[in-house]
Subunit: 307 residues, 2 copies
């Protein structure tokens, strides 16, 4: 318990199921997470692709309780716990640690723009201090296209120095390989675990010291992405990567979160899965049909999802 | 009660006082709001300059309760109630209406970027429907430099059509007069109240149909800004505007929120007022001294604040 196994491999920012009146559906959430684990993929619940920032802290606490209460292994969970408001980040982080989560993925506070590394250092430090748990493992979440507030090399260096035990790694969703490589080069050999934010960089990442990836499309193509992680040294690794890119390329033609949910709705046979919370908008019937047709054209399917 | 007076004039996005351990101080908050009202300025509490997005909903509910419980007039309040998460926006908006707030200033959900007007329409509509109060008055908050999610002419048109009673106006903090003028030209004659987001555009705004302004510096220079609002047709209006611009120009040389708090700390004789929550960082001692010196050089003061 004192030196828990670090999370590695492929994780899915699990899409959050809503009922038609926009309430979260814990039953469908548990079922989806169970399926993802069966596909060898960990649970980065409450990520950007989970519409986590459209959920209240109460809703996230309830969903996390349901997962753990249903017997899913918390060591395989890395819930997103970073909010704009300090008390919100503290509350959800503390709750996740109490439940035994393997780690937490922490956005910087993202409302105020152009803030200093000093201010961001104090934000993360304040959360870590208030949670006050030696077994807390924080993964910093760098996603400048959305949060607009970056995690820099200098910030990571300061945080690691102050909290060597708690600062465990990062997710880099910047989409810029050079940035990912800079973090890998600076910190990977030294126990700081870098997850590229898409399987696009999985093979390249593994070749440079990454420990897996956390990717939107791990919601829909989990087994194949997990297989490349397991076999990245194999002769067919580049071919595997090309196949992953082909599938992702189809999803990327549509708004990503609604497209993930449309695919889950289709292959699970549960139309309600297509529901998103505003400000997102579900795919139109025509878009969904086009997505499914293009995926079927390349013989994509989601085995074991229906049931 | 059924047709309440619309809020107009100058409002302050009231800075939120913290203790040295970063907890809100309701006593100082009530005192500050009482002073602002005495200066003829309304209370746009929980705005950007209030560090509202660094506060949890619980904290905001408690602060609002304390204001109203202390006898301050809720009709003079326009709390910010827009959050990323739908349940948070619904909860605080409903609470504000229940307390009798004259209006609410509503940010769009601001985490997801590049969202459609359709998605934003559904967000605001969902909040209005769930709150379900005829006396709700929503002021849409356009602040693209921070929220990065704009409020467009088309969105306002759709919302007004769907909710003619509830959609009361907007705050335009874009800093682009042409945009403010476009909203004034399109909607001002027709009962849609536009507040420029800084006194920089107060005189120009009043000459084009604005109903006041909501400005950071109304925290520190309230009476003078309110006076220009009251006397904008007077011969000295341009001279008044120039004087307001001079004061604002000094604050604008520093990070705005820490500078506002440094000034309140200095002129109230309460050093704790300088405290900000991360990710913001208070002015250094040198910066504070420079700010005060420059303000004193132009004979600025904050009468009646100390006490």
């Amino acid at each position: 318990m004192n030196t828990p196994q670090r999370i590695s491999g492929v994780l899915s920012p699990v899409v959050t199921p809503f009922t038609s009146d926009l309430a979260p559906s814990p039953e469908r959430f548990v079922r989806q997470c169970r399926w993802l684990l069966s596909q060898n993929v960990g649970l980065a619940v409450f990520g950007t692709n989970s519409e986590a920032n459209s959920l209240s802290v109460d809703e996230k606490v309830e969903l996390l309780d349901r997962l753990v209460g249903s017997g899913l292994d918390p060591a395989r969970m890395m819930p997103g716990t970073g909010h704009c408001a300090l008390p919100d980040s503290v509350r959800l982080t503390a709750h996740a640690v109490k439940l035994g989560a393997g780690g937490v993925l922490m956005l910087p506070p993202f409302y105020y723009k152009g803030v200093s590394d000093e201010g961001l250092f104090r934000s993360f430090a304040e959360v870590i201090e208030r949670v006050g748990e030696a077994r807390l493992r924080v993964y910093l979440y760098h996603i400048p296209p959305v949060a607009q507030v970056p995690v820099t090399l200098g910030l990571v260096e300061r945080l690691r120095k102050a909290y060597p035990q708690q600062i465990a790694g990062m997710k880099d969703s910047g989409g810029d390989w050079k940035n990912t490589q800079a973090f890998l080069d600076a910190f990977a050999k030294d126990g700081f675990d870098v997850f590229p934010g898409a399987e696009t960089f999985l093979l390249q990442g593994m070749r440079h010291g990454a420990v897996g990836c956390i990717s939107a499309t791990a919601n829909v193509n989990p087994a194949a992405i997990a297989r490349l992680y397991e076999t990245w040294r194999a002769a067919d690794a580049d071919a595997q990567q090309a196949r992953l890119d082909e599938i992702r390329g189809i999803f990327a033609k549509f708004p990503m979160i609604p497209a993930l949910k449309a695919a889950v709705a289709h292959w699970s046979g549960t139309p309600d899965w297509a529901t998103v919370r505003p400000p997102l908008v579900a795919l139109t019937r025509e878009q969904s049909a086009a997505l499914v047709a293009q995926l079927e054209h390349v013989r994509f399917t989601m085995p074991g999802l229906r049931g």
